[in-house]
Symmetry: C2
DNA sequence: CGTTTTGGTTAGCTTTGACTAATTATATAA
DNA sequence: TTATATAATTAGTCAAAGCTAACCAAAACG
């Protein structure tokens, strides 16, 4: 069983993943800070934690890269996010911005069962 | 617009409401602590905060009573909880324990739009 | 090539929400 | 009515997650 991450750390890893996809390269502290609307100091703290957890590589003043484990982890978080958003839009006709916003919170707390059932609903 | 409460405070007010309904009388620090599985010290802190916010009445060593405002607030939180649980059960066939658990997290973060649409779904 | 701008880091502080341990009240029972 | 048990409070600690301000490194420009 995977170690549970805090919500905050899940957000950071997800953001690093999305930014690296977007630009096809390593990500900077500043990108993360801007994207999550936190100070660079906070982004820096989080990256240090992610490094300790073995999810990213990062050296002083350098770019941030996800490790294999980190990427696996990020993809899972992001897929959850995507799927919940889709569920809210398709099943309830929630507007995309609100669906995104809600998914962003729900992704961290939902049970495996509910998640699987949303998946099943969308697979029909 | 109502002042936003923290998730933790919403849980406390909801618990006080449910316990007072269950026994038809004032609630004790110990009841709250047991129900939420926190220490009595934590329950005590929370009750102090709720008192400062004007949501409960409580004097040293005494019972806790919701004020009118407190009760209104608690009912809203609880209704949200109930409705989300029902939505998960009826729309996705999630088991009651998981639906309860998920609702407990979702109730604090969901947008007004999504909530209204769940309500509409259940009203059909 | 030196200076300015941008980016990153560090130190130290704040808040929230929990905890334990020790203490003080109240209630119950011998 | 005194002793014991239960309940509540207080003081002090901790971790998470943010912040600002000050400082240091690297890059870009003139």
């Amino acid at each position: 069983m995977e170690k549970k991450l805090t919500e905050s750390i899940e957000d950071y890893i997800e953001t690093i993943y999305l930014e690296s996809q977007k630009h096809g390269k390593g990500v900077r502290i500043t990108d993360v800070a801007l994207e999550l609307k936190v100070s660079k100091a906070s982004a820096n703290d989080a990256v240090r934690k992610l490094k300790e957890l073995g999810y990213v590589e990062h050296e002083r003043y350098g770019q941030i890269y996800l490790t294999e484990t980190g990427k696996d982890r990020a993809v899972k978080v992001y897929e959850k996010h995507r799927l919940i958003t889709e569920f809210l839009v398709k099943s309830l006709d929630v507007s995309l911005p609100n669906a995104e916003k809600d998914a962003c919170g729900i992704e961290h707390i939902i049970s495996e069962e509910t998640f699987e059932k949303m998946k099943a609903y969308l697979d029909q």
